[in-house]
């Protein structure tokens, strides 16, 4: 395997993890924010450098120079490849921008140390390919979120139940698949792995933990826990290489149903956070729909939508968070008329929302086109449901926009406009969403290469025929 010039991956993981100990000890919230931002910025730099270094090698896969983990465990546990190379800087960027756009009023409530710990664990998950370590890291990734809920004295049972169930199923599935000698045992192992990633991805009907999370956890923490799409990554690493067609179809059917159901639910929400949650669920499910196709074009669409969902919905979530910081929780069953006070945030809301639904000239457009094109290969119905879900999501977004920003004139005696750090975050999102939307070819090319390589690693020759009653077309 090729070697990077420096241990970028390990540095990416270690720098925020170690720094979180230091940031956690800073008593002043503003200083903690500055320190957290500096560390997140450094991590972003390291992740970008790793990506550039990897691209310069013209290789499918590479590992760190001076690989400490390899010397300890004897295996390349952390690797960078075509799938995760851009995901690492993307994740670091999302964390950096979320920290940057954290309003002053929330500084006391938002833990930058936990955010750095979460960044470290998420990057570790996204750098890992090996089954057991990946499962362990997916578990570790939930710890900062759990700690956030505990710190706030919020109920944790829903979160623990779903994440725990997902982890147990992952472990059992991996055990069954790896150590079972019978075809039935391996099939059962795959089925358990499928169920595990579906729960972790928030697929219906076991999606309630995400809405619960948004209700009880800090908005920023919840946002950063779900938008890197760890569940989708686990699917790519754990399921795609070994899954027979029936497993992929099962994922796709459940995801398709989730995409449609969540888009309908987004329209009827009266609470802005639940609205965001269902919008996210609908879009993230589309990433998994692309898997079913198991074709280069479908997988390219899915991987491209991954970027679009992560960027657009983090942007949308941050905008919503900024508005909430000024107004408190927003009910969507009445008009708030915030436009005159925060036109910048209104524009950001609209832009990120439209990007998420695949509006032309934005990042989401190409991914949606590719996905629908591939979905039509499977069945016109699949393509139809994707298109209808997107249409419903767009209605939900404009409805929320109108409810929050229009309908009346909000009276306020204080300045509610966006501050400079928020504007920088918004501009960064705008640049990426529209810039990549206008020039999508490099991104598509990169995702196509990743899709081809992922499909090339699919080894289903030893997989048994699906059990009776497995999902079929």
């Amino acid at each position: 395997m090729n070697e990077l010039h420096l241990p970028w991956l390990e540095l990416c993981i270690l720098v925020p993890a170690v720094s979180s100990l230091w940031v956690g000890r800073i008593p002043d919230a503003a200083q903690a924010r500055s320190a957290g931002l500096a560390v997140a910025g450094a991590t972003l730099f390291l992740a970008l450098a790793g990506w550039i270094d990897f691209e310069s090698l013209f290789s499918f896969e590479a590992h760190d120079h001076w690989d400490v983990v390899k010397s300890l465990l004897g295996r390349d546990e952390f690797v960078i490849d075509k799938l995760n190379a851009p995901l690492l800087p993307l994740t670091a960027l999302l964390f950096f921008l979320t920290m940057l756009a954290t309003p002053r009023v929330k500084l006391g409530k938002y833990s930058f140390a936990l955010a750095l710990l979460s960044l470290s664990s998420t990057l570790a998950v996204l750098s890992c390919k090996e089954t057991w370590l990946l499962i362990a890291l997916v578990g570790v990734n939930a710890i900062p979120m759990y700690a956030d809920l505990r710190t706030r004295k919020k109920p944790t049972r829903v979160f623990l139940f779903h994440i725990g169930l997902s982890l147990v199923l992952m472990v059992l599935g991996a055990v069954c698949y790896q150590w079972s000698t019978s075809d039935l045992g391996r099939g059962a192992g795959i089925a358990m792995l499928v169920a595990a990633v579906l729960i972790r991805s928030g697929c219906a009907p076991l999606h309630c933990w995400i809405s619960d999370l948004f209700e009880h956890a800090a908005f920023g923490s919840a946002l950063l826990f779900i938008t890197p799409l760890v569940g989708a990554y686990a699917t790519m690493r754990l399921i795609l290489p070994i899954a027979p067609d029936w497993a992929l179809r099962s994922i796709a059917i459940v995801s398709l149903a989730t995409a449609f159901y969540a888009s309908c639910m987004a329209i009827v929400q009266v609470d802005s956070r639940r609205f965001f949650c269902f919008l996210f669920l609908s879009h993230s499910a589309l990433v998994l729909v692309g898997l079913e196709t198991a074709t280069p074009i479908g997988l390219t669409g899915a991987l491209y939508i991954w970027f679009s969902v992560a960027l657009s919905l983090t942007g949308l979530g941050l905008t919503l968070r900024c508005v909430e910081a000024r107004t408190g929780p927003l009910a969507l069953n009445r008009y708030h008329g915030m436009y005159s006070h925060m036109p910048h945030l209104a524009g950001s809301f609209l832009m990120t929302g439209l990007s998420a639904i695949g509006f032309p000239c934005t990042i989401g457009f190409t991914g949606t086109e590719l996905l629908v094109e591939a979905a039509l290969d499977i069945s016109p119905w699949v393509g139809g449901v994707v298109v209808v879900s997107t249409a419903l999501n767009s209605i939900a977004i404009l409805r929320a926009y109108f409810r929050i920003f229009t309908g009346k004139t909000h009276q306020s005696t204080i300045e509610l406009g966006s501050v400079r750090s928020e504007r920088i975050a918004i501009l960064t999102f705008a640049f990426l969403l529209i810039g990549v939307g206008l020039w999508p070819q490099p991104g598509v090319h990169s995702r196509y290469d990743a899709a081809v390589e992922l499909l090339g690693h699919r080894d289903i020759t030893e997989i048994v025929v699906p059990p009776e009653g497995a999902a079929t077309h």
């Binding site: 049972r157 249409a391 767009s394 209605i395 404009l398 309908g407 009346k408």
Partner: protein, 454 residues
């Protein structure tokens, strides 16, 4: 440099100017540095002016050289050669697109100038012209589109700008609710369009009109699709066109759209946006004429819509709604002409009607004064009588017809009762069940209101 290359260069600028205006205004708003009214007006006039001059020059070159079609190929926006996936940005100047783009630019220029004075010092001045620039770019893209993807791009820009401008007076709830309604209908129409575009893409591996409609320039092309495929794709396109042009059963949004400021009403619902559906049908006419059944559907839809709009228009109590239904009547007749294969007639009808209706809508705020002037000139009251055919009906039938026309065919209430309310009820119930389940699982009681953290 050949004349064809000149035409391509000029064509490029025809497209570039409106797109650049949209990006400029958007960027300035994004960085919190909106242009002053004066500067914005200059940019708008320059953009429309240069674009119009370039379009006229292309027309001149085409007339001089006898060319019936010129392409401006921007290349592949996305290309995956291994799987033959191409997303091409290509524009075509032909007998359909050149009149349409010139019409769009002339009317946008006129209405833009009108809007600069009309909205002088209005709080939403910047917002209006941002949407206006988006609309202008959308119309230019849609008019000149050489691929179905490019047409879709323009189509979406027009849709978004329309919905936002309907909700222009957004400090009141009615325009906002109407804007959302327009958006919902547009999005359903867009979904049909996207389905058709992807289906065409799927059939031919690309969305290039010159491949889909044959090498012959419009309107002489022949679609390279079987009758069955043409019927499927054509039906989707017909739904898309019906949504965009407000044909039955989507007519409910048209009078609602008049909530916007007069310049946007004139340009959108009198002149251009409302004709975009008819334009789409003209562009894909070779597909429509592959299937007799499809053509019959087009004619039937046009006739039903024309009858409905003529009746509803006669009983409207405000001038903008009356003009909206009058527009719809003419658009429906244009659709009938397309279905019957009178493509040039439909194009001429479209252009003439767009110009006349724009003028009427721009004059709408001074209607009473205009009536007074006319009545003074002729020395008697203007005739507001009903058509003779109505007088032949029984009084009870007249009343029923009047009521139906007044309620705009009950289309909105039927849609609300049969689709919107059951949908909202069903998913609100699911939402309630989800909350109860989550609260039970988390050990909280069922009733407290949701409490947010952070």
């Amino acid at each position: 440099m050949s004349m064809s290359q000149w035409a391509q260069g000029l064509g490029f600028f025809t497209v570039l100017c409106p797109a650049a205006l949209m990006l400029l205004l958007g960027f300035m708003l994004l960085i919190h540095r909106p242009l002053s009214e004066l500067v914005l007006g200059r940019w708008l006039k320059a953009s429309v002016g240069v674009s119009l001059i370039c379009a006229l020059a292309v027309l001149g070159i085409m007339l001089a050289t006898g060319s019936r079609r010129e392409f401006v190929d921007m290349g592949d926006m996305v290309a995956i050669d291994d799987v033959h996936f191409h997303f091409r940005m290509k524009f075509v100047f032909d007998r359909l697109s050149v009149p349409m783009v010139i019409l769009s630019l002339v009317l946008c220029g006129t209405v833009g100038s009108f809007g600069l004075s009309y909205l002088h010092r209005d709080a939403g001045f910047q917002r209006f012209f941002m949407c206006f620039a988006m609309f202008l770019a959308g119309m230019t893209f849609a008019s000149l589109a050489g691929t179905i993807e490019t047409l879709f791009l323009g189509w979406e820009l027009v849709g978004l700008s329309s919905a936002l401008l309907v909700a222009y007076f957004h400090e009141r709830t009615a325009p906002v609710a109407n804007g959302l309604r327009v958006w919902a209908v547009y999005r359903l129409a867009d979904a049909a369009f996207l389905a058709a575009a992807i289906a065409l893409h799927h059939q031919t591996g690309g969305g290039d009109f010159s491949i889909l409609m044959g090498e012959e320039p419009w309107p002489a092309g022949t679609a390279s699709l079987s009758s069955g495929t043409a019927l499927l794709v054509g039906t989707f396109l017909l739904i898309a066109a019906a949504g965009k042009s407000g044909l039955v059963p989507f007519s409910g949004w048209l009078p609602r759209a008049m909530e916007g400021p007069t310049p946007s009403s004139a340009i959108f619902y009198g002149a251009l946006s409302v004709h975009l559906g008819a334009f789409l049908l003209l562009r894909v006419s070779p597909i429509l004429h592959q299937s007799t059944l499809l053509c019959s559907m087009v004619v039937a839809l046009g006739l039903i819509s024309a009858t409905f709009a003529a009746l509803a228009g006669r009983v409207q109590t405000d001038i903008k709604s009356a003009l909206a239904f009058a527009s719809l009547t003419q658009v429906s007749i244009i659709v009938v002409e397309i279905g019957l294969g009178f493509l040039y007639l439909a194009l001429i009808h479209l252009i003439g009607h767009a110009c006349m209706r724009s003028l009427q809508l721009l004059r709408a705020p001074t209607l009473l004064r205009d009536y007074k002037t006319m009545e003074n000139a002729i020395g008697e009251s203007l005739d507001h009588g009903s058509p003779r055919i109505i007088a032949w009906l029984a009084p009870s039938m007249q009343r029923r017809l009047y009521r139906t026309a007044m309620e705009r065919g009950y289309m909105d209430s039927i849609l609300d009762d049969s689709v919107v309310k059951p949908f909202l009820r069903l998913f609100s119930t699911f939402d309630r069940w989800e909350r109860i389940w989550t609260r039970w699982l988390s050990g909280l009681n069922k009733n407290p209101n949701s409490t947010h953290s952070d």
